[in-house]
């Protein structure tokens, strides 16, 4: 994440400005290999270590949940310039301020847990 610069605020900003192919290349190539690999796993019925099924369960269908939740996430992603994986990478890189972002993300998760039953899903 760090070496690919996908953890950099600048790269996230640039992505939403459509200023470079870099981020799209990272996500796109990960996806291309991901889709092909998952298809192979399904066709050949490849099992996980120890013979158990792979965790490829479909999610429950809903539009408001994924759309509203997704938009809120996107607003935060573009503002803080970090999503939940790179946050930890940046913490390891010594950016103390990212700890504020992580704490706020924990609080956001907590508030979701409190309000979950009142939100459209």
């Amino acid at each position: 994440m760090y070496k690919s610069e996908a953890a950099s605020w600048f790269r996230i900003y640039e992505m939403f400005e459509f200023g470079s192919f870099h981020m799209y290349g990272i996500i796109g190539s990960a996806l291309l290999i991901g889709v092909l690999g998952v298809q192979i796993i399904k066709r050949k019925n490849i099992k996980a270590m120890g013979g158990q099924e792979m965790q490829l369960n479909p999610k429950e269908m809903s539009i408001p949940r994924y759309l509203i939740g997704g938009i809120i996430f996107g607003l935060g992603w573009a503002l803080a310039g970090a999503c939940p994986g790179p946050m930890y990478v940046l913490a390891g890189s010594g950016y103390i301020s990212i700890l504020v972002v992580i704490a706020a993300a924990l609080f956001g998760t907590f508030v979701y847990g409190l309000l979950r039953h009142k939100l459209p899903h």
Partner: protein, 185 residues
């Protein structure tokens, strides 16, 4: 030895992300980073406030190891393998500088205007960090996943909910940068 400090190109990094997902699938797990936020809330005792946090978080300890790995990876990459600067599109860098007063593109990995420790006392900076983090945490759980869980794992499995979520991520991101940034910065 200069090459070692160069950023990795997308065609190396992207496939590496896919490999991460397959390793986790092979071990019977899933690639999804935002679940850790829920796990950490549960460890902190949030189960007392909401049922959502009453689950067997010990089963999710493996994912906290992924977090630890990310922290260590960030430490080693930034300390030994990087010049810690990011070159972005010149026009985009110019726009950041002239319109939003963010001049550190090309000189830093994260904008010093927002992430330098001495700017943490600035109310606007605090607002950006807290509001951004809050929406990331709230939105990820509402949408049932983040960039890793939906954009990589979910889309790799061709799941429609993940496609809707990813479209939402981009709607949110574009609104923030094209409509709200001029108001915030």
């Amino acid at each position: 030895m200069e090459w070692i400090y160069e950023p990795w190109p997308w065609y190396f990094s992207g496939p590496l992300i896919a490999v991460t997902m397959f390793v986790l699938l092979y071990t019977g797990k899933q690639f999804g980073m935002s679940s850790n936020l829920r796990t950490m809330c549960s460890i902190g005792g949030a189960g007392k406030a909401a049922d959502f946090f009453k689950f067997d978080w010990k089963k999710e300890r493996w994912n906290l190891m992924v977090v630890l790995g990310a922290v260590l990876g960030g430490f080693f990459a930034s300390t030994y393998l990087s010049s810690n600067t990011v070159e972005i599109n010149e026009q985009v860098a110019n726009k950041l500088s002239t319109e939003y007063g963010i001049n550190s593109a090309g000189e830093a990995y994260m904008p010093t205007e927002i992430f330098a420790l001495e700017n943490l006392g600035n109310p606007l900076v605090l607002f950006v960090l807290i509001a951004g983090g809050f929406m990331v945490g709230f939105g990820a759980r509402y949408a049932g996943g983040c960039t890793s869980g939906h954009a990589i794992s979910g889309l790799s499995n061709l799941q429609l909910p993940s496609l809707i979520a990813v479209i939402g991520f981009f709607i949110g991101g574009l609104i923030m940068i094209h409509l709200l940034y001029p108001l915030i910065f």
